[in-house]
């Protein structure tokens, strides 16, 4: 008995093989759906179709595909089940919008228009409304693309390649979060080498959704990102960018996790040690760079989300902003993408408000480690306490502020304890504090005995 050992295949070769398969299968709906799904999704689809024929192995992807095709169900049934799985998993590209309109009517209308062309080259192929959290529409756009293919070998040439025009199926998942009034357009993108205009594809999808009675409005991502960059918070860091200035453009690419692009420029412009100790103050340089960056337009920008360890590449096009999510070790999910972009949604809702901007500017302009005590801070604005608290909460979410705490007690007693300073370390206050006579003065485990303030934090040194 010999054991057959398969040769090792490099990940690069696997990627190339996958890309070739994707290109070859673009003009067949079932095959292109197979190419869009993972093996486990295909296995689940096979189980929904009644399981594999007796004795048939489903170890690898191709065996599962074969079993699905031989399941004895009609092509329509197979397509429906595969599409159901296609809308369930997030793809790489996202386009974020808000919507106005009646969703119930839109779903009803969508079911009537199933399989029909709603806009140029855009067909509504699937509707899923049994998920409590969201409603999904699957829009398929078919157009022509030019791909390079390998031609039969010719004498004297090891490899011969030629251009081939092929049908391109590009599916877009439209995920409607009814409770929050948000819409995500999610699409996989096409392999490198296929000419495809995402802005046109997005406009087509928006037009198609409009036919169903829902008007989509792109999220003002550029304004939100500008606001995030100028705030210099710790939650989201710009790590890559193509800056366009009147004099030319500048491509910046800092090592994700090591520095933000402002810090990268700061390294380049900081004075050397030979300049008689005239090293400029780093916070000052960063402030200037951040301010000047805000004056120019970004063509693309890479954002590192510190909490989630996810990198997103945002490319601004005619339709709005296309987010490419590079998930890394994080599991892709619609919920996570929604949680991340929630910051932008809440910012977008406030950016037009002068009251918000006034309070926001006061927070942004606060010096490093400056503390906002709520009584004083609220007194500086005409807005209600609730509005001010909401802006503060927003700033905490974005990593501009952190909560700091102090015992609610007489100054004399706090001095006696040596606890006059605000501390971010809340657990150290969770105990009973007694005076020199041994009687209880304050119980730090009760929330009413803890005062809350907020401290400004800014990115310094490394990005994390």
């Amino acid at each position: 008995m010999y054991r057959v050992i398969k040769p090792m295949v490099s990940s690069r070769k696997r990627t190339e093989t996958r890309r070739r398969r994707v290109r070859e299968k673009l003009d067949d709906p079932v095959e292109s759906l197979f190419a869009a799904l993972t093996v486990s999704e295909k296995r689940s689809a096979l189980a929904d179709l009644g399981g594999p024929p007796t004795g048939q192995a489903t170890r690898d992807s191709e065996a599962v595909e074969k079993a699905i095709l031989e399941s004895g169900r009609s092509t329509e049934d197979i397509l429906t089940i595969l599409r159901r799985y296609e809308v369930g998993s997030p793809k790489k590209h996202f386009f974020f919008c808000t919507f106005t309109g009646d969703v119930k009517k839109a779903v009803k209308s969508a079911k009537q228009h199933l399989g029909r062309q709603l806009a140029k080259n855009v067909v509504l192929s699937f509707v899923r409304d049994d998920d409590e959290r969201a409603i999904y529409f699957l829009l398929e756009r078919t157009t022509h693309g030019i791909v390079w293919v390998e031609l039969p070998g010719q004498e004297g040439y090891p490899v011969v390649r030629g251009k081939k025009q092929t049908k391109v199926r590009h599916a877009t998942i439209c995920r409607i979060d009814v409770a929050n009034g948000r819409v995500m357009l999610n699409y996989p993108g096409l392999p490198v080498g296929i000419d495809y205009d995402y802005a046109v594809a997005i406009s087509g999808c928006m037009e198609a959704i409009a036919k169903l009675g829902l008007h989509l409005e792109p999220l003002p991502v550029r304004a939100c990102i500008s606001s995030v960059i100028s705030a210099k918070g710790r939650r989201v860091l710009p790590v890559r960018g193509d800056v366009i200035t009147p004099e030319g453009s500048l491509r910046l690419r800092s090592l994700a996790g090591k520095a933000s692009i402002q810090q990268l420029i700061a390294r380049l412009v900081e004075a050397g040690p030979d300049k008689d100790g005239g090293v400029p103050d780093e916070p000052e340089i960063l402030d200037r760079i951040t301010h000047n960056l805000g004056q120019h337009t970004f063509n693309t920008i890479g954002l590192l989300w510190i909490e989630e360890r996810v990198l997103t590449r945002v490319e601004f096009n005619d339709a709005g902003a296309d987010f490419l999510f590079i998930w890394g070790h994080t599991d892709p999910s619609f919920a996570l993408a929604d949680k991340m972009i929630d910051l932008f949604y809440s910012l977008a809702g406030c950016l037009d408000s002068p009251t918000f901007n006034e309070i926001w500017s006061a927070i942004v302009d606060l010096t490093k480690d400056g503390v906002i005590t709520l009584g004083d801070f609220r007194g500086r604005f005409k807005a209600t306490a609730d509005t001010i608290d909401e802006v503060i909460t927003q700033a905490v979410k974005l990593g501009l502020l952190i909560p700091v705490f102090r015992l609610k007690a007489d100054d004399d007693f706090l001095e006696e304890l040596g606890r006059t300073d605000w501390t971010p370390n809340l657990p150290e206050l969770g105990q009973i504090f007694k005076d020199s006579a041994g009687s209880v003065v304050v119980d730090g485990s009760k929330p009413e005995n803890i005062l809350v303030a907020f401290r400004r934090v800014r990115v310094r040194g490394g990005a994390t």
Partner: protein, 221 residues
Amino acid sequence: MSNDTLTHWLPELMKITAAEINDKLYEWLSPIDRKRFTCLYARLEKVVAWKSPNKGKKAKTDQGRRSRLIGRLYERLLVVLFTARGGLSVETNLRNTTSEIDLLLKVEPSGLALPLLRDVGPHVVGEAKCHANPPSSQLVNEMVAFLQTVSAKLGLLFVFCSSRVLKSEVRTAIAIHSARGTIIVPVGRKQLEAVRDGAPIMRVLSTQRVDAENHLTKLAI
């Protein structure tokens, strides 16, 4: 009411997902005497690893003493998790008309701010099983029956076998009971070691409850 105190800000701060802020709040809501916990944990590990140098009848006697000591140490260790002034207060070894409750954990008002305790009613029951064997589906079923006799919705099943991923039938049993409204959260060395290394107990329990209710394949003790 003054709205610059934690009473006003706690619900708002709990909504913020930054781990750094969350952990501080968890730690304040359920403080632990870490020094004591680490000391007891090290002692317990030593006793568990100890083997009698004797043979025959003497070895059996030693084994019995060791088992009793392990049981006592384990219960003391678990009490340390909840004794400080936190979201749960604890009473141990309580007799009722039919059996004994190892740990009766009462939900305090501050505990209601924690996602783990929001929907579990006034008390949680903890069972300490310091066996070498991993929990079985039978153990889960028995614990559910016990919880129903004391009208508890959430049971913490503390075990101290070597760390491992739970078997499929155990996860299935947990899932079935969870769907019927009785939640069993297995807690083992993995979770206790996380607490020893500085993680807040309520975050650890909360994560474990989510894994148990979703009967995830990674559910481990």
